[in-house]
């Protein structure tokens, strides 16, 4: 008996479907269900009530925390885009041999394969009260007293985000830049364009898909984060992820689930908007 091509394909993806069903679809469904449950101090009770959502939307904390989340996402996005684009541009257009391009590109990616937690910890000796930044600034005479807002502040949170996630901009932007036909740039130069004009009118428009993919990565990673905010702000700032993890710590699962549902919807709406600007399947 010969299998039809369709059933062959379905057989090949069956392990993938199984994993995604059990560990992605079911958990989301579970969260959606539990978000309507009721909680007592000791247990959670199946029910169909809207009190978790009512409480969530009725509290001013929610709006502040969502605002904070968007603020982190926006600042981090701008910083990673600027740095990521510049680095990718340097690698793609100023490094002349493929060997060096690959070597420097790998140098950018290696930290991605190491632990995020340790990369956060490693900012302590830099930013701490008696850290390198403060003692350097004092020895230069720029400041008299150590700056208190370096570590455990919004500044530290954004710095850590940029440190952790710039790579997610570099890789897709570099990837699209490498596919730009170099003769287009020569043509622009022959037609009399200067460097800035070439960058603005040729390279940036052609790099847009990479920028969009990088944006999707950075925005979703920052919006879904809870550990960077907790660690780098010294528990002084909050984003939506922390709201969820605090509820979890109090075993208030229905409330955590309701927040999670709203967060997921928010992220999906943002992604839906971003996906209008890029066809991911074409860019792979």
């Amino acid at each position: 008996m010969r299998l039809s091509p369709n059933s062959k394909s379905l057989m090949m993806v069956s392990p993938l479907v199984a994993v995604l069903f059990v560990f992605l679809v079911c958990p989301i469904a579970m969260i959606a269900i539990v978000s309507f449950w009721r909680a007592t101090e000791f247990s959670i009770i199946p029910a169909f009530v809207f009190e978790n959502y009512e409480f969530l939307f009725g509290s001013s904390v929610t709006y502040r925390v969502f605002f904070n989340t968007f603020k982190y996402a926006l600042i981090t996005w701008a910083a990673t885009l600027l740095i990521g684009f510049t680095v990718a541009y340097f690698l793609a257009f100023h490094i002349r041999t493929l060997r060096w391009q690959i070597a420097l590109f790998l140098l950018c990616t290696i930290p991605f394969w190491t632990s995020n937690i340790i990369r956060m910890i490693s900012w302590i000796p830099f930013l701490g009260r008696n850290g390198i930044a403060n003692s350097t600034l004092i020895s230069w005479g720029v400041i008299d007293e150590p700056l208190e807002w370096l570590l455990f502040s919004d500044f530290a949170v954004v710095l850590a985000f940029v440190h952790l996630y710039t790579l997610f901009m570099v890789v897709p932007i570099f990837n699209t830049m490498m596919r730009i036909d170099k003769s287009l740039i020569e043509a622009a130069r022959d037609a009399g364009a200067n460097g800035a004009q070439i960058l603005w009118n040729v390279i940036i428009p052609l790099t847009k898909p990479g920028i969009m993919i990088g944006t999707i990565f950075v925005v979703t990673l920052v919006m879904g984060d809870f550990i960077t905010v907790r660690f780098m702000s010294g528990s002084q700032s909050a984003n939506v992820g922390r709201l969820i993890s605090n509820d979890v710590a109090l075993l208030a699962y229905p409330s955590a689930s309701a927040t999670a549902v709203v967060l997921l919807c928010t992220v999906l709406i943002v992604i839906g908007i971003l996906l209008r600007f890029v066809d991911i399947r074409k860019e792979l």
Binding site: P5, N6, S9, L10, M12, V13, P15, L16, V19, L20, V22, F23, V25, C26, P27, I31, V34, I83, V87, Y89, F90, L91, H94, L107, C108, P111, W113, T114, S115, N116, I117, I118, R119, I121, S122, W123, I124, P125, F126, G128, G131, H163, T166, I216, T220, D225, F226, I227, I244, S245, V248, Y253, S257, A260, L264, V267, L268, I280, R281, L284
Partner: protein
């Protein structure tokens, strides 16, 4: 070659600063982990010693580091093997459209962009409500796969988009079955990328925090253990551990990259014997 423009030097300086930004903090804690026994969490160095590393190898109050390391290692290998196998099968299947392929594609994207705490929370709830106990090798393993598989699949999609299918047609014309074609033609050609997928699978699992937080159960993986330490350990022993595990990651990354490089070389050498007079 035309001479370097001024913008090259400006950008090269920017790139160097970026590298400093990227690696500086890690290098700093690597240096500080050699603090003397009375040294603190910042400079100055109070002598140079292996004191804090020795601390790690002794039974002490900081917890079960070696147990969590071995769990992370085993889990990383499990995730790595699964990611490679499932991604290759998925990549092969996605070369043609099939019923549901669009939905599945968007499901993969969802897995990539969904906040990790949702996976952690959802899987944890699912297990507790159905009376199962969360364990790093079951719920933790599955939760991590939702993060590593999308990366593996995206790499495979990229590889197969550039794959020259005339090699397969040639094999088929020579009478190879579809399994033989995959085994002797497709897999050897994509081998270097498979090592890349393995690298992602292993390292992303080995360092994963958020997705294992509520799914690992009573036995911690290493990142969970390290995070626990950040709240109650205030000595450079934290740096020593960070340095060791980063060193371990770097060794693994180096090994994977070396393997990729060797297999690319081998492929280039063995790829064609045209004109060599072999029969």
């Amino acid at each position: 070659m035309e001479p370097r423009s001024r913008s090259f030097y400006v950008l090269a300086a920017f790139f160097t600063l970026f590298m400093l930004f990227l690696y500086g903090p890690t290098v700093t804690i690597a240096i500080l982990s050699f603090q003397g026994p009375s040294g603190g969490l910042t400079f100055p160095m109070n002598g140079v010693s292996l004191h804090w590393f020795r601390d790690l190898f002794e039974q002490q109050a900081v917890g079960d580091i070696w147990g969590s390391f071995s769990r992370s290692l085993v889990l990383g290998l499990m995730v790595m093997v699964t990611t490679v196998v499932v991604s290759v099968m998925g990549g092969l299947a996605f070369r043609r459209r099939f019923p549901g392929s669009n939905i599945l594609f968007y499901l993969i994207i969802t897995a990539l962009v969904i906040p990790s705490i949702l996976i952690s929370l959802g899987v944890g709830l699912m297990f507790s409500q159905s009376g199962l106990t969360v364990h790093w090798a079951t719920s933790g393993f599955g939760a991590q796969l939702t993060w590593t598989l999308p990366f593996g699949l995206l790499i495979m999609f990229a590889v197969f988009n550039r794959f020259d299918s005339s090699y397969e047609e040639a094999a088929r014309d020579l009478g190879a079955t579809s399994w033989q074609t995959i085994r002797h033609v497709v897999l050897p050609i994509i081998a270097p990328s498979l090592i890349g997928v393995a690298l992602f699978g292993f390292t992303l699992s080995y360092d994963e925090f958020a997705r294992t937080l509520l799914t690992a159960g009573s036995y911690n993986t290493l990142p969970l253990e390290i995070f626990g330490m950040t709240t109650n350990v205030t000595t450079p022993v934290l740096y020593a551990l960070g340095t060791l595990t980063t060193g371990f990651s770097l060794i693994m990354i180096g090994a994977f990259l070396l393997l990729t490089w060797v297999s690319t070389k081998r492929k280039a050498r063995a790829g064609s014997d045209a004109g060599k007079g072999m029969v």
